[in-house]
């Protein structure tokens, strides 16, 4: 496909949701009023996100897979000459999978909301916020200018805040506030790092900065900038010990909010590591890599242990909270992969990123469905003495939950396996100059973490899916049509990515090699 078309596609991915968000606030034009205003605006959401998904798929098809390391579909407009900010967009093999993932998950969320109107204030605002969120995440993944990246990075905060604070469950206001203040604190620190790079290098252009591979920046600048940027991204990712906003936010968020938060927003943090920290401040990254690796491993173990504690009987563990902690653990693998600074590790990290988006997105959808049916996500109340017996009472839902759980624990043949394996592979042979002994320790601990992961996820399956079929309330609504429509793509892609990892790795590998440059 010719490059102009690609450029237009990339730009449309950001602009379309923005316009859609504005349009959602206006009254529906005659002819599109639908049954009632709520239905009309929810349908508007489905149409716009669907259109974005179509564009993303067309982009993925038109993308020149032979040159995945090269930026394609670029647009470069001078926006604010005073600050040297350009509207510079484009995709390569690193960002393309994330773009498609974002488009897919947002569409599925909109579809889910269409059939199951979220409980809260008007759906109008809901649709506008989801579209704004989509514009922000898309912008983050296609921005090639540091300040534009920051702008897009920040753009998701307000919509996510309101999604949690207005459509969420218990303690939502507190959780939402905590989410936004934490991430903002991180991102303003990141902004200082970005500005430092821009001031010292004289440009905010990520492509030319990445090509320079840090040659235009002194070691001291790189170290300070890398520290500031990593701090901001680590809050978002989230990295232990900066993760504490995540479980609260997930517990309080509505289903769609959780899906987007885990599936898309967390990826912005790890994407930033690969896109900015590794290529632009390589010497800073090299200095901090072992610390990053250590914290990542602590995150893996901490997340799994927290999940194990939550899954035990009598602790009053919340299923959403448990999956949130499991996200901390999974993102630990992603960060470990990045910290190896090798192509293998970073490829693994990117793979695990996408896999986590698919699987955790699915899990949050499923937990939302469980909550809808049982009215609670509290494991003790859910499972009673023996278990919630989902297999018996809603067999398809139970089966899907079990599928999600085994995919999440990294069963070979499913998406969760390859990313974590490659990340650990990377840790076996970290980049030159990194302490191999330390990384071998990380590797051993991370491997132990996978065991713990298997333990708590199987426990979840035992307590939620198995158990006595109680006489009262025997049948529950099993998976409904729209739910199946929303979940099938995630299941299919999980299997596809597990069976054919080359599909994804073929895209990321050339791009990762370009980004890592000589180092």
């Amino acid at each position: 496909m010719n490059d102009t078309v690609l450029s237009l596609l990339v730009a449309a991915l950001v602009v379309l949701p923005l316009l859609g968000a504005l349009a959602a606030l206006l009254p529906a034009p005659p002819g599109l009023r639908g049954r009632n205003p709520d239905q009309a605006v929810l349908r508007h959401g489905v149409v716009v996100t669907g259109l974005v998904l179509v564009l993303a798929v067309v982009l993925a098809v038109g993308f020149d897979h032979g040159h995945a390391g090269r930026m394609q579909g670029t647009t470069d407009l001078d926006w604010i000459p005073a600050l040297r900010v350009h509207i510079h967009l484009g995709v390569d093999g690193v960002s393309l999978p994330l773009v498609v993932l974002t488009a897919l998950l947002t569409f599925l969320c909109a579809l889910h909301a269409y059939f199951k109107t979220p409980e809260g204030p008007t759906p109008k605002a809901f649709v506008a916020l989801v579209l704004l969120l989509e514009a922000g995440t898309m912008g983050t993944f296609v921005a090639l200018d540091l300040i534009l990246f920051f702008l897009a990075f920040e753009m998701v905060l307000i919509p996510m805040y309101f999604l949690i604070a207005r459509w969420g469950g218990e303690k939502r206001e507190r959780a939402a506030l905590r989410f936004i203040l934490y991430t903002l604190l991180g991102s303003v620190v990141m902004l200082l790092g970005l500005i430092l790079i821009g001031v010292r290098a004289g440009t905010f252009d990520m492509v030319s900065l990445a090509t320079d591979n840090g040659s235009g920046l002194s070691r001291g600048t790189q170290i300070v900038a890398a520290l500031a940027i990593m701090a901001g991204l680590a809050v978002k990712a989230p990295m232990w010990p900066l993760h504490s906003w995540l479980p609260d936010a997930h517990t309080a968020a509505p289903t769609t909010g959780s899906v987007l938060l885990a599936g898309v927003l967390l990826k912005m943090g790890t994407y930033g590591f690969v896109r900015i920290v590794l290529p632009i401040t390589p010497r800073g990254a090299h200095l901090f890599a072992p610390y990053l690796g250590a914290l990542a491993v602590i995150g893996i173990l901490y997340g799994s242990l927290a999940c194990l504690a939550l899954v035990r009987q009598g602790t009053g563990g919340d299923l959403k909270r448990l999956i949130a902690y499991s996200s901390v653990s999974h993102m630990g693998f992603v960060l470990l992969g990045i910290s190896t600074l090798t192509a293998t590790g970073v490829n693994g990290a990117l793979f695990a990123n996408v896999a986590h988006g698919l699987i955790t997105g699915l899990l949050f959808f499923l937990v939302g469905a469980v909550k809808e049916r049982y009215g609670t996500t509290d494991l003790d109340r859910l499972s009673g003495a023996t278990g919630a017996a989902l297999y018996g009472r809603a067999p398809r839902l139970g089966g899907l939950l079990a599928f999600g759980a085994v995919a999440s624990l990294g069963l070979p043949g499913l998406a969760g396996f390859w990313g974590e394996l490659l990340a650990m592979f990377g840790a076996f042979h970290p980049a030159a100059g990194l302490d191999r002994a330390a990384y071998l320790t990380f590797l051993a601990l991370a491997a132990f973490g996978t065991l713990l992961t298997a333990a708590y996820l199987l426990n979840v399956v035992r307590r939620v899916c198995m158990g006595d079929r109680r006489s009262e309330n025997v049948t529950l609504t099993d998976v409904r049509g729209f739910e199946l429509a929303a979940w099938t793509p995630l299941v299919a892609l999980t299997v596809l990515a597990g069976l054919w990892p080359a599909l994804l790795l073929g895209l990321t590998d050339p791009a990762v090699r370009t980004l890592l440059g000589g180092s």
């Binding site: 005073a82 600050l83 704004l132 905060l157 307000i158 303003v188």
Partner: protein
């Protein structure tokens, strides 16, 4: 000075001084017209004031080239008392535009006030604010500053029989007079040490050294700056602001927080960057510390405002304006560390322009919500989106601009410019302090924004009591927004949105040479 005495033969460039003169003349015209206008037609005076300000704004057009100067010392064309360069034009544009928005805000709110006096005082103060950025000698600077402040005391205390207003005016008056006294003492020291009042000449004299009088010159410079710090409500000289704003009519508070403050900043820039340039090593670190102190004080205090407290919305905006003054000081402090301060000055101006637009917009919505009554509570904004969706969206946009988060893109980029200024000057610690402050500020801006979209309380909504008796306009929650107020909110919102799309419109000042 001797040359000025030969005023009889001095030629005056009337075009250059047109903006402040038009504002002043309009003020006088309104005062006189007040005597002949029947009470029913008093609103006409507001229209005349607005027209005068529009005219003054148009008078800026011939000055866009920025090369006019007048009241020069004979034989020394570089020593002029009034210079209409780019800096002047930008500040005058801000001041006149800000005054115009204030007039629009006041049209409904002044019903309980003596109309003629109100408009006269407002325009008199605005003419001083327009004069201030153009003045290039210490005497004109102080006179202009007083022209800004003196009518402002009266504006604050204009509401008769109001104990709070009286107290507010008195606090404002006493602190301002102290500030002026200190400044004047400083100016006299500087004059004694350098023998000149022209800013550029002062700089030259200070650079060449003042011999035995160095201590005097330094003390003078510092005292002058302290006086200005008082006027700008820089911490620790900020205590008068919240009470003054809370006691004043809301539009007057808006005026003080934007127009009067910007004029003060223009004066501070002229003093530091032009006159006391050779003492940059003294004032720059001091300003950096004051900036950090000011933004922290303002934000922490704003954080503690209780939503149910009377006038909490105005108090919150008052404290937030103190915090924003802290951000405005950052580039000025940075200017002291750099050989070429023009960019930093431009950054301050860009930020001030952004702040003026969105802060006036926020005040406009507050005026709308409270109907200018006494209880400008934050709690009164609850569920505004349900009754007035457009006003609620506008206020949310203004608040997010002040916080610097998208969709308030212009606020974000203005902050990016300030951060850049600090980082370039090597003031990393100040940038870090500011970063923390941005997060603190988000908390209260966001709390307010969230309130706008909250569900209405289950109890029937209590409409704010309106002591001006304009019941027909405020009582029903779906009443039409008065036209001038709608214009003000619309203008501010449109400007904000346009600037968000094209931030270069104001950020270009951050790269151009203004002097």
């Amino acid at each position: 000075m001797t040359a000025l005495a030969a005023g009889a033969v001095q030629s005056v460039d009337w075009i250059a001084i047109a903006p402040p003169v038009i504002v002043a003349v309009t003020g006088l015209a309104v005062l006189i017209a007040d005597l002949f206008v029947t009470p029913a037609r008093k609103p006409l005076l507001g229209v005349i004031s607005a027209a005068g300000l529009v005219l003054a704004g148009l008078a800026l057009l011939p000055l866009l080239r920025g090369d006019r100067a007048t009241f020069c010392v004979a034989g020394a064309p570089t020593q002029c008392s009034y210079v209409a360069d780019h800096f002047t034009v930008v500040v005058q544009l801000l001041v006149i535009g800000g005054a115009l928005l204030t007039v629009l805000l006041s049209m409904r709110d002044t019903r309980g006030l003596p109309a003629g006096e109100f408009w006269f005082l407002l325009l008199a103060s605005a003419s001083g604010a327009a004069l201030l950025p153009a003045s290039r000698d210490l005497a004109t600077l102080i006179v202009a500053l007083e022209v800004v402040s003196l009518p402002a005391f009266a504006l604050v205390g204009l509401r008769r029989g109001d104990r709070l207003a009286g107290e507010a005016a008195l606090k404002f008056f006493l602190s301002s007079v102290t500030a002026t006294a200190v400044s004047l003492l400083g100016v006299s020291f500087v004059y004694a040490a350098t023998g000149t009042l022209h800013l550029a000449a002062v700089a030259t004299a200070l650079a060449h050294g003042t011999g035995q009088l160095t201590v005097l010159a330094r003390t003078g410079a510092m005292l002058t700056l302290v006086g200005f710090a008082f006027k700008l409500a820089v911490a620790p000289f900020h205590f008068w602001v919240p009470d003054t704003y809370a006691g004043a009519p809301v539009p007057v508070a808006a005026y003080l927080s934007v127009v009067s403050k910007t004029a003060g900043f223009a004066g501070l820039i002229l003093l530091t960057v032009v006159a006391f340039r050779p003492y940059a090593h003294l004032w720059a670190p001091a300003l950096a510390v004051l900036a950090a102190l000011t933004m922290t004080t303002g934000n922490v205090a704003a954080l503690r405002q209780r939503p149910g407290h009377p006038r909490s919305a105005v108090r919150l905006l008052a404290w937030s304006s103190i915090a924003q003054a802290g951000y405005l000081l950052v580039p000025i402090a940075a200017a002291g560390y750099r050989a070429d301060p023009a960019r930093d000055v431009g950054t301050t101006l860009s930020y001030a322009l952004m702040y003026a637009v969105v802060n006036l917009g926020a005040f406009a919505v507050v005026v709308l919500v409270t109907g200018g009554g006494r209880s400008a509570r934050l709690a009164d904004h609850r569920a505004l989106f349900a009754t007035r969706p457009l006003a609620a969206l506008a206020l949310a946009f203004f608040l997010l601009c002040l916080a610097g988060l998208p969709p308030g893109i212009i606020g974000l980029f203005a902050k990016v410019a300030v951060f850049t200024s600090a980082v370039q000057a090597g003031l990393g610690w100040l940038a870090a302090v500011m970063a923390v402050n941005v997060v603190i500020a988000l908390y209260y801006y966001l709390r307010w924004t969230g309130l706008l979209f909250a569900r209405p309380e289950s109890a029937p909504m209590i409409t704010p009591t309106d002591d001006s008796g304009a019941g027909t306009l405020t009582a029903p929650s779906v009443a039409r927004i008065p036209f001038p107020l709608a214009t003000a909110i619309g203008l501010a919102a449109l400007t904000g949105v346009a600037l968000s799309g094209a931030p270069q419109l104001i950020l270009r000042f951050a790269t151009s040479t203004l002097f």
